[in-house]
Every structure is written in structure tokens, then in C-alpha cells.
């Protein structure tokens, strides 16, 4: 792999480009790639995902593998989450931190350490193989993330960019039913944040019970050359339709999930971003990760502003950048907002002065010089339906 050739000056196409166009997708440039924004329409696709199962192509995201005996230890220098205690086959949400406490990216980390079966002929017992951690990072940030990881990870640790893999997300209340049918019930035992490897035909798939819509669902990583066959197989199921990035955005907003580059950036820290769940208590206290000192200070002093949800009165959506007021005083800014198809009203995420972040606090949002009444609202706006076992 030559990094020199991997610039993103031009908009590139992804493995499923022709497949999307064949399904009638409207393609737009996003994160350096042509991506499907919608097929039949954002609201219809949004509602289909909430009621059935939507298949999203998220192959623009970065898939990385970090391997080596010291992989967990090395990752813990850069991520504030507990990686060493993550069991094989389990996934965790984490953050890539900057020295000043800013968030370089948010990501999913999976302990992908393989189990090596016993070999009677060779006289070996079953055992865990070389530690391996599978990372999924944001598409727009992946090159920066790779550079950051290469710079800071010890040379004993190997970082592989799995750029010949596609990534799909199957999301919705019927995702498990459809995937179980295709995969012959192999995902039956999985709960939220479990990750397994399975063969589909002769191809190895990594299936993780996660996603970014608030629904039960799966992320499926597979060799790019088989992605089209797999998508056709999935879309042959009555519950499954292809869904574009437009609906992915409205779904994740309803689910109260932050979007990197908008709701979280290098300028925001995990405390202000209300992502302290990603900082396990022990690691938060012990430190030993990049940015710890700065984040510990925000913890101690309290953040100046916090990310909250806003319910907005009326039907006029407040978009990113809209200013939030309490009386005449500007007290915050919307970082993402839109019209919720599920709730049929506008919702937004905003950073607001901490003293005004209590639920129910009445504020105003300015949209085109009009002040709209808004209230600090609990998130998620639409309840999560992750599958945590029977």
C-alpha cells in the first residue's frame, strides 16, 4: 500500500457505485466519494428503516486493523476508553483524542483477536491468536486518523488500512430477521455491540451488532468484490431496501447521536460533547492517554457549554449554525438540526451555556431573523431499540 497515491483531491467512486445508480440513487460527493444521498425519498427511506430494515452503504468509512501483542496498550495511549478490558468479540464506542482535549474523531473499536482452534496432529490446544483490534472511523477523517495512528503507535504494532473492504449497515426492527434468514441464524445469539466473523458462501464477513440509527441492526464488513452480490441477496428479502445518506442523517439526529465535523470537532472536548460514557471511570482517573490533562481540567471546572437536544416549536427547522438565545443574550449555537420525520417537528442539537442546559429550559433559536421558541429536550429524541438480549 502506498500512501502517496491515496490522496482525495478528486471525487472517487466506491465498489457499489454502479449498484446504487442501478437502483435509482441520486449520487452526491461526500467525504471524497460519490455517495447515494437518496433513492425514493428521504422521508420514505427514513420511515422504512424505522419500520422494516434499511441497507446503507457506508464503505466511505475507514476500516483499520491494529495488530500486535501491545495493540491494546498502544491504543489506550490515544483513546480514553478501556480497550485492554474489551473481550474478544466485543465492540465499544471511543474517541481519538488530541493533546489539548479536542476530539480528532469518534470511532468504534472491536476486539477482533482470533481464536485458533486446537490442532490434534500438531498437538496444540485452542488458544487466542495475535491481539487484533478492528477500528471503524469516519470517512472524512480516515486519512488524518491513519497518519495520527502511524505517528503515535509503537513500531511493534501493525496498522492495516482495510481499503479493499466494503462496509454495509443493515438497520431497523426487522434487520435481525432478514439477516438471520440470509445467514442461516448465525446471528441469533448476538447482542448489541457483539462482533463475529462468519462465512457467507466462501467469503468471510465481520458482523457487528451496531449502527448509527438508534435501531437494532448490524454493520457488515466484507471484501469489496463481493459487496454487490451480498447487497442483491439482502435486498431480495422483503424487509430490506437500500437507504441513502439523507435518511441516515435524519435517523442519527433523532437517535441523538453526534456527527463528527458537526456536533463534535477538534474544538469540542468529550465533557462538553456529553460523551463522558466513552471515558471509563478508571481510565478517566488514571489517565495515560493523549488529552487526559486537558479533559480532566474540564471535568474539574465544568464545561462552559454542553451539547443538548432542542425541541423547536412550529415546523421551521433550525439548521447547523443557527444561533440560540436566552432573552437578548446569545447562549449557544445549533450544530445539527432538521425536521424529524418520526416526530413530525423540527429537532436540533446545540451547544448551550451550561447553566441553561437543564431539560425544559426555554430558549429561542434564530432562523432567518425570526426567533423560534425552543426547549432543552432529552436525547435521544426517538428511543433507541438496541437488542440487549431477551
Amino acid at each position: 500500500m502506498s500512501e502517496d497515491n491515496e490522496t482525495i483531491d478528486e471525487v472517487q467512486t466506491l465498489p457499489l457505485d454502479a449498484w446504487h445508480r442501478g437502483k435509482g440513487a441520486r449520487m452526491v460527493p461526500f467525504a471524497g466519494y460519490e455517495m447515494p444521498i437518496q433513492y425514493e425519498g428521504i422521508v420514505a427511506e427514513h420511515n422504512w428503516t424505522r419500520e422494516q430494515a434499511g441497507l446503507f452503504d457506508v464503505s466511505h468509512m475507514g476500516q483499520l486493523m491494529v495488530t500486535g501483542d501491545k495493540a491494546a496498550e498502544e491504543l489506550e495511549k490515544l483513546l480514553p476508553g478501556a480497550i485492554a478490558s474489551l473481550k474478544p468479540g466485543r465492540t465499544r464506542y471511543s474517541l481519538l483524542m488530541a493533546e489539548d482535549g479536542g476530539i480528532l474523531d469518534d470511532l468504534m473499536v472491536t476486539n477482533a483477536t482470533p481464536w485458533i482452534e486446537a490442532d490434534e496432529e500438531a498437538g496444540t490446544e485452542g488458544h487466542w491468536g495475535e491481539p487484533a483490534y478492528y477500528l471503524v472511523v469516519n470517512g472524512a477523517m480516515k486519512w488524518d486518523d491513519i497518519a495520527h495512528l502511524r505517528e503515535h503507535l509503537d513500531d511493534d504494532v501493525t496498522l492495516t488500512h482495510m481499503d479493499e473492504h466494503a462496509l454495509l449497515a443493515l438497520q431497523g426492527p426487522n434487520a435481525a430477521t432478514a439477516l438471520n434468514r440470509v445467514m442461516r441464524n448465525v446471528i441469533d445469539d448476538m447482542v448489541f455491540m457483539d462482533s463475529v466473523c462468519h462465512d457467507f458462501g466462501e467469503w468471510p464477513l465481520r458482523i457487528t451488532r451496531s449502527g448509527y440509527t438508534g435501531e437494532d441492526g448490524f454493520e457488515i464488513s466484507l471484501p469489496a468484490e463481493h459487496a454487490e452480490t451480498f447487497c442483491n441477496r439482502m435486498c431480495a428479502e422483503i424487509e430490506v431496501r437500500p437507504i441513502g445518506l439523507g435518511a441516515r442523517d435524519s435517523l442519527r439526529l433523532e437517535a441523538g447521536l453526534p456527527l463528527y465535523g458537526h456536533d463534535i470537532t477538534e474544538e469540542t472536548d468529550p465533557v462538553s460533547a456529553d460523551l463522558t460514557f466513552a471515558l471509563t471511570k478508571k481510565r478517566r482517573e488514571e489517565g495515560g492517554w493523549m488529552g487526559h490533562e486537558a479533559v480532566a481540567k474540564v471535568f474539574a471546572d465544568g464545561p462552559a457549554q454542553k451539547r443538548v437536544g432542542l425541541d423547536i416549536e412550529g415546523r421551521l427547522p433550525a439548521r447547523e449554525g443557527a444561533l440560540v438565545y436566552s432573552g437578548d443574550k446569545q447562549v449557544g449555537r445549533v450544530t445539527s438540526g432538521g425536521f424529524s420525520p418520526t416526530l413530525q417537528r423540527p429537532i436540533a442539537m446545540a451547544y448551550i451555556d451550561t447553566e441553561l442546559t437543564e431539560e425544559g429550559t426555554e430558549l429561542e433559536v434564530e432562523v432567518r431573523k425570526k426567533r423560534l421558541p425552543a426547549k432543552v429536550a432529552p436525547m435521544p429524541f426517538v428511543p433507541h431499540r438496541y437488542y440487549r438480549g431477551k
Binding site: G41, V43, L316, F339
Partner: protein, 123 residues
């Protein structure tokens, strides 16, 4: 009654000195699901090519320009109740506003049905 189209995808029905204005089927298709339409107030003087209304889709806000200069004399109140009319009936029930036409020479350069259709085919 004559129907005209702009290259910004508005349509105009001209009857005497009064024009009814809306956005085309092509435009609503590009915008996607419309959730809110901000209309000008009756009595507003609008200028050809300047902002006159805003359409909010699930995705984004988009400006609608006045296709001609004149005074807004009526707005479609039905859009307040049901903005999706712009999606379901863009060139009839989903009209935006009616305006007087102060300068009919501004009609020059607008397209007829056939010209607009071939304009869209090339986009």
C-alpha cells in the same frame, strides 16, 4: 392564460396583470420531501431574481426567487397546513403566491413548456 418557466425552476401563470408563481415538478423532485414553506407577506414588493420565499426540505433550506418584479397580492395559505402539497401538486395546488406584474418586458427570456422541458432534459 399563458404559462412561463424560469431557469431557476419557477413557473408563472399569467392572467392579465396578475401572475401565479410556484416551483416546478423538476424542482420539487430535486428538493425532496418539503416540510415547510416560508412565503412572502401580502404587500411585499419583490424584485425579479431576488429572494421571495424559502422552501425547507428534510435535507436543507432553499431560496425561491421572484420570477418577475411586482407586488405580492395573495399567498397560498394551504402550504402552511400542508407543505407537502408542493411535492404532490407542485404546478397546481402547491402554488406559492400571486403577484402583480409591473413590467411585462420581464417576461422576455422566460421559457415556454417545450423549451423548459428540453432545458431540464439537459441538466
Amino acid at each position: 392564460m399563458a404559462r412561463y418557466f424560469t431557469d431557476e425552476h419557477e413557473w408563472i401563470d399569467l392572467e392579465g396583470d396578475t401572475a401565479t408563481v410556484g416551483i416546478t415538478d423538476y424542482a420539487q423532485g430535486q428538493l425532496g420531501d418539503i416540510v415547510f414553506v416560508e412565503l412572502p407577506e401580502v404587500g411585499t414588493m419583490v424584485e425579479k431574481g431576488k429572494d421571495a420565499a424559502v422552501v425547507e426540505s428534510v435535507k436543507a433550506a432553499s431560496d425561491v426567487y421572484a420570477p418577475l418584479s411586482g407586488e405580492v397580492v395573495e399567498v397560498n395559505d394551504g402550504l402552511e397546513e400542508d407543505p407537502a402539497l408542493v411535492n404532490s401538486s407542485p404546478e397546481e395546488d402547491g402554488w406559492f403566491f400571486k403577484m402583480t406584474v409591473s413590467d411585462k418586458s420581464e417576461l422576455e427570456g422566460l421559457m415556454d413548456d417545450k423549451a423548459y422541458k428540453s432545458f431540464c432534459d439537459e441538466l
